[in-house]
C-alpha cells in the first residue's frame, strides 16, 4: 500500500516494489541489470523485495566461477544486499525443487515460499518489475 495520506506533507511516498527474476545469469544480461534496479530502489527508501522464480533461482546458486567465459561474476553482490537494507529475498519452493536445489545451495539467506504464499505476496505489491 502506498502512503498516499502523506502526500503534501513532504514525507516521501513509500511503495512496495518487487523485482521478479525468472532468468538464469550470464546467458542474458537481465539478472545483472535487475540487480542494478534493486540497488537504486533501495536508495530511494522504497519497500523492496527480490524474488527468484523459475530459472531465476540459478542467479543465486553457490560456486559461480565466470573467469573462463570472460564475464564478471556479479553473484557476490547478492550477499552485499543486506548492506543496502535489502533483506526481503524470496525463492519459490516449486522452482527450487524442480531444479533439484535446496536453500543450502544458495549463496545468500532467503525465505523459501510455496507458490500460494509467494503469489499472495505478489498480489500485495504496488509495482512489479520483471526481468
Amino acid at each position: 500500500m502506498s502512503d498516499t495520506q502523506d502526500e503534501g506533507r513532504g514525507i516521501p511516498k513509500v511503495k512496495r516494489f518487487m523485482l521478479v527474476n525468472r532468468k538464469a545469469p550470464y546467458g542474458t544480461i537481465y539478472a545483472l541489470e535487475a540487480l542494478e534496479v534493486v540497488l537504486i530502489a533501495a536508495a530511494f527508501d522504497q519497500d523492496v523485495s527480490l524474488v527468484f522464480v523459475d530459472d531465476g533461482v540459478y542467479q543465486i546458486r553457490k560456486g559461480q566461477q565466470t573467469k573462463d567465459i570472460g564475464q564478471k561474476n556479479f553473484s557476490p553482490t547478492y550477499r552485499a544486499l543486506g548492506d543496502y537494507d535489502i533483506e526481503k529475498l524470496y525463492v519459490e519452493r516449486e522452482s527450487l525443487e524442480a531444479r533439484g536445489l535446496a536453500a543450502d545451495d544458495l549463496l545468500v539467506p532467503v525465505q523459501v515460499l510455496g507458490a500460494v504464499e509467494l503469489g499472495a505476496l505478489m498480489d500485495e505489491q504496488d509495482v512489479v518489475f520483471s526481468f
Binding site: 516494489f17 544480461i29 534496479v37 530502489a41 530511494f44 522504497q46 518489475f129
Partner: protein, 119 residues
C-alpha cells in the same frame, strides 16, 4: 490515470517496443497520462536516431519521438545501459534523454501503474 512504461528490448528484433507504443497510444486516446517511458537493457536502442528501417516498415524510434512531441512524454534512456551499447547524447532522437535508473524508480513511485514490456 498516470502510466509508467518500461521497455526492455530494442526495436525490430522484438515486439516489446511496438506493444509498449500501441499501449501508450491507446492510453492517451482514453485521456490517460503517460508519466514516463523508461528504456532499459537493449531497450536503449530505441533512442538511436541513426536507425534507418526500410521505407515500407514503421520507424520505431520516430514513432516514439512523434508521440513524445505531441503529448509531452518523458522518454528516458538508462545511462549505464546506454554507455554499454554506445548510445550517446549525440545520437539520441528528439524527445529522448539519458538519465539514471532513479528515473525508473521515480516513475514507479509517481505513476498509478507501471507496465513492463520485455522479452
Amino acid at each position: 490515470m498516470k502510466f509508467g512504461i518500461l521497455v526492455n528490448e530494442g526495436p525490430y528484433q522484438h515486439q516489446a517496443s511496438d506493444s509498449a507504443y500501441q499501449f501508450a497510444v491507446a492510453a492517451l486516446a482514453k485521456g490517460h497520462e503517460i508519466y514516463r517511458v523508461f528504456f532499459y537493457n537493449d531497450g536503449v536502442n530505441n533512442a538511436n536516431k541513426l536507425t534507418e528501417p526500410p521505407q515500407d516498415d514503421r520507424n520505431v524510434t520516430r514513432q516514439w519521438s512523434t508521440l513524445a512531441a505531441q503529448h509531452d512524454i518523458d522518454l528516458v534512456v538508462c545511462v549505464a545501459a546506454s554507455l554499454r551499447r554506445g548510445i550517446k547524447a549525440e545520437i539520441l532522437a528528439p524527445g529522448f534523454h539519458i538519465s539514471g535508473l532513479g528515473q525508473l524508480i521515480e516513475a514507479g513511485i509517481e505513476a498509478d501503474r507501471v507496465l513492463v514490456f520485455g522479452d
